[in-house]
Amino acid sequence: MKLTGAQILLECLRAEGVETVFGYPGGVVLPLYDTFVQYPDIRHVLVRHEQAAAHAADGYARVSGRTGVCLATSGPGATNLVTGICTAYMDSVPMVVLTGNVARDLLGRDGFQEADITGITLPITKHNYLVMRASEIAQAVKEAFHIASTGRKGPVLVDIPKDVFIETAEWDGYPEQIHLRGYPLVTRPAQDDVERAAELINAAEKPVILAGQGVILSGASAELCAVAEKADIPVITTLLGISSIPDAHPLSYGFLGMHGHYYCNMTADAADVVVGIGMRFDDRAMGRFKDFNPGAKIVHIDIDPAEIGKNFETHAPVQGDVGEALRALLPLLEPAEHPEWRAWIDDLKAEHPTDYFGEESELTGTWLVRALAEETGGEATIVTGVGQHQMWAAQYYPFQRARQWITSGGLGTMGYEVPAAIGAQFAQSDPVWSICGDGGFQMTLQELQTVKDHNLPIRYALFNNGFLGMVRQWQELFYSDNLHSVDLGQPDFLKLADAYGIAGLRAATRQDARDAIRAAQAVDGPVLIDFRTAKVENVWPMVPAGAALSETIEEPA
């Protein structure tokens, strides 16, 4: 059967079980949009800016565990995706990015709306394809989904020239075979590596697990808990590892890093064996590398061999899928108890709790997160932007299950919260809470129309202090309070909500805030809540840039 390139592409998406594509049309993808009508089972969600398409696909992927799909036209459409692609790349999010390009005979000749998007995205995709024949679309798409969703997951871009969408080719079903010689999937760890790791853990007196997003990507929360319980190992997470272990678990201690809990940073720094699981010993998590816990033995379990030994010398490297590695490790661990070590951490936690809630008269961001946690029972899927509100959400929201915490960690993309919440909401029916900063919100607020189009029940909780808060904090602490370009002017957000035809609420006191949260929960459809939070509030504790974890500072008296 002969099909056009556009039909073949949509056949492939159907075969992959893709139900939702976030996209924006344009000149060279017109043949594809002309074909969408023949595939009513593939929903196209029209965003208002291509960056949002990428973030929405990312949010969808993080909540659902499936591969997110976004689509844009050539040139500016494709380049607008770049921030979203890089965000997904840094956080290992499975995503297939589809772009059109100018017709084949115009490629390389600077035609209208031509951009070398495969060249541009070389360093921010796991792989990319420029498909030059309709007959090659199916194999490229098959491989793209395979690469995006296996190993260390990540975005893969498929670029298709306009006339390839129109060209016909024989379609004899979605390819079964993948021939990727340069992509051997090693998911099963070497047994002697696992034994070496078990030896170190069994000999430990003060072990700690640093759990990262790899645990979530691998679906290995149960295995993580089993290992921690058997060997009595406290679990600290990275920022992206939050929700990999339920907050209420007795061995769960919260997250470490620049704004991690004081006791978590000190515990990681005092441990004799540090077991990194599905994490990459990032600078924001570990502080100054050379002064991180010099005496510790490091066990590192990761799917990506290039992460092992990248930042730290590793004493027991285990390369493989986190779930498989933990299942292999479990029987080799001796049941253990570390009462003194646990008591030491518990005392530290009691003496240095993270409980900066401010005065009763102030609507602080910290208090607001706690109120949100209370009103949602800790059950909501939380999407955040980047900055102070993100850190408070990480510190104070008690996450119960994996994939409940959606945030841009590696790239730190402001404005992520508005479109990512759209993707998240397409992957679940319970309302998503998007915790926004007033800076980031103004970067992507055009997507409120997309939200309105689909009447998505997203609750946008705008932490509005009128400041670019995190930058202001740094200017205050490290640049002599020389505030510059952080005092953000803003529109009347209630009028904005009204203009988009969505519910708007405002709160400036704690009582009003609680009422607003409850009122928002009763709304059938999208809500924007303008929380007028304390103008000047800092995130504590904090590891100053370039300092070691042991130099974590708490709020000055």
Partner: protein
């Protein structure tokens, strides 16, 4: 004096592969001393010999990052192995007819060849390891080196051992199992909020 390591990589012979490799080196801040590419003995593959600045820890990171590229089929670090390494150089030397015999003797001593003779200049072709090429260049310099081109290094491990990629896995059953398990979306329908 910087330390150098040598990597042999086999890559898919496709458009854009060199750009991927070069992009990776640039982005990760690895300095390439030399990079040579040519067809490998196996059809469809190219063989790269990459000389990179840095010692064992650095080259391990280079090799691992390189291997993450989908188009890179194999990466072997041959730095600590006995190897034959060669590069070729063409050196255009200013040479009057009267100097030809003298220069010819010098070239012969290096087992190099004069491959072009012009009225005012000659081209010398020299094959050997980097030190030999540099030594000859030094000897020719007094006559006036007008232009020089070096191919960069190619290398091969001595003895039986090869740096070639392993044969394609023939364990079809295992490959099938991996495909069934990986890259599949989780089962079950997702609810749509706006349905």
């Amino acid at each position: 004096m910087s330390e150098y390591s040598t990597i042999v990589a086999h890559v898919e012979d496709r458009p854009g592969v060199l750009a991927r490799v070069a992009s990776l080196f640039r982005r990760r801040g690895f300095n390439i001393e030399s990079l040579t590419v040519g067809k490998a003995d196996e059809p469809g593959l190219s063989r790269m010999t990459i000389v990179v600045e840095g010692g064992a820890a650095n080259v391990q990171q280079v090799a691992r990052q390189l291997f993450k590229l989908i188009d890179v089929v194999s990466v072997v670090d041959i730095s600590d192995q006995p190897v034959i390494d060669r590069e070729m150089s063409l050196i255009k030397v200013s040479c009057q007819p009267a100097q030809l015999v003298e220069v010819g003797e010098l070239v012969k001593a290096f087992r190099a060849d004069i491959v072009d003779v012009g009225p005012q200049s000659i081209i010398v072709q020299v094959l050997g390891d980097g030190a030999k090429v540099e030594a000859l260049e030094g000897m020719l310099r007094p006559y006036g080196v007008l232009e020089m081109v070096r191919t960069g290094r190619v290398a091969m491990v001595r003895g039986q051992r090869t740096s070639k990629p392993p044969p394609v896995s023939v364990d079809a059953q295992e490959a099938e199992a991996a495909r069934a398990q990986l890259g599949r979306r989780p089962e079950g329908a997702l609810p749509f909020a706006s349905d």
